[in-house]
């Protein structure tokens, strides 16, 4: 069975809900390409996902939220050492009729990244991984989120980034 045409399906869905215009998905003819500059085993690889990953914390035990909630609507860092069982997704943008978000590994492969470091497949991972809000506004993504992601990638010395839209 062929893949789902989400652009067509969401257009029809918008119209059914009474909106006059459907969402205009970003489209470009030219696509930039940066080659990997060194062997993967020497690279520091980052992770960024739009699954609105958050961290469970218990204020009664003196734990604080490591995510700045002010940043949650944009690109925000999550300490990479956060135990996986404390990570969860707040996103509403997933197919709840077909799947669930109980296993972070299905949408935010931080354990796979850790394994790749342990196996020597990649050189290292940074001290922080990233979430990005599912922003409706392409203008906001281009003017704020993309530059922030780039600044973070540079600060962290990333050689490449794995990106996971939910």
């Amino acid at each position: 069975m062929d893949h789902v045409r989400y652009i067509d399906r969401t257009r029809e869905d918008y119209l059914r809900q009474g909106y006059e215009k459907s969402y205009q998905w970003a489209h470009f003819e030219d696509v930039p390409f940066a080659p990997l500059k060194k062997p993967l085993r020497e690279c520091r690889i980052g992770l960024l996902g739009t699954s609105e990953v958050a961290v469970h914390f218990d204020p009664e035990k003196g734990e604080v939220n490591p995510i700045d909630e002010q940043d949650f609507r944009g690109v925000y860092p999550i300490p990479a050492a956060t135990p996986t069982e404390k990570l969860y997704s707040r996103t509403l943008s997933f197919d709840r009729n077909a799947t669930h978000l109980d296993d972070v590994g299905a949408f935010f492969p931080i354990d796979r990244l850790r394994e790749a470091v342990a196996d020597g497949r990649i050189g290292s991972m940074p001290m922080r991984v990233y979430g990005a809000y599912n922003n409706y506004s392409q203008r906001k993504v281009m003017s704020q989120e993309a530059p922030k992601a780039l600044a973070c990638a540079r600060e962290d010395g990333l050689d490449a980034v794995v990106l996971v839209p939910v």
């Binding site: 789902v4 969401t10 699954s51 997933f94 077909a98 799947t99 492969p109 989120e145 980034v161």
Partner: protein, 122 residues
């Protein structure tokens, strides 16, 4: 997400996208894309199927090494273990994307977003 990937690439940082919405990612255009034909919410493999998640992640790393130009898509041939009904049903009148509870949460977040924006916090 594809827009962020493009911006990183433009500035010299290679990226690979692991995603489930092939048309959306390819309509935008990214450098490297591992397309996993699973429901939205499980682009990295089925929940709790660690072996499959490892294979998918390994393909993403491999693509970082091997792609020689933009719009390189690989599509590992996985099939969702519960069958393909989800493809027919997603975003249809028969099965609305949001149930009433989710829609209420979504509207409440939208309101909060407007409030934060009005307060100059966004």
């Amino acid at each position: 997400m594809s827009l962020i990937a493009r911006h990183l690439e433009e500035n010299g940082i290679p990226t690979v996208v692991i995603g489930a919405a092939r048309d959306i990612v390819e309509h935008c255009g990214v450098a490297r894309f591992v397309f996993v034909d699973f429901p939205l919410g499980a682009p990295c493999g089925e929940p709790w199927n660690v072996a499959q998640q490892r294979e998918i992640f390994a393909q993403a790393l491999h693509l970082l090494e091997t792609a020689t130009g933009p719009r390189t898509t690989v599509a590992p041939p996985y099939t969702w273990s519960k069958g393909n009904d989800w493809k027919r049903l997603v975003f249809t009148e028969e099965q609305p994307w949001q149930d009433p509870d989710t829609k209420a949460k979504w509207l409440s977040r939208k309101d909060e977003y407007r409030r934060l924006k009005a307060d100059g916090k966004l």
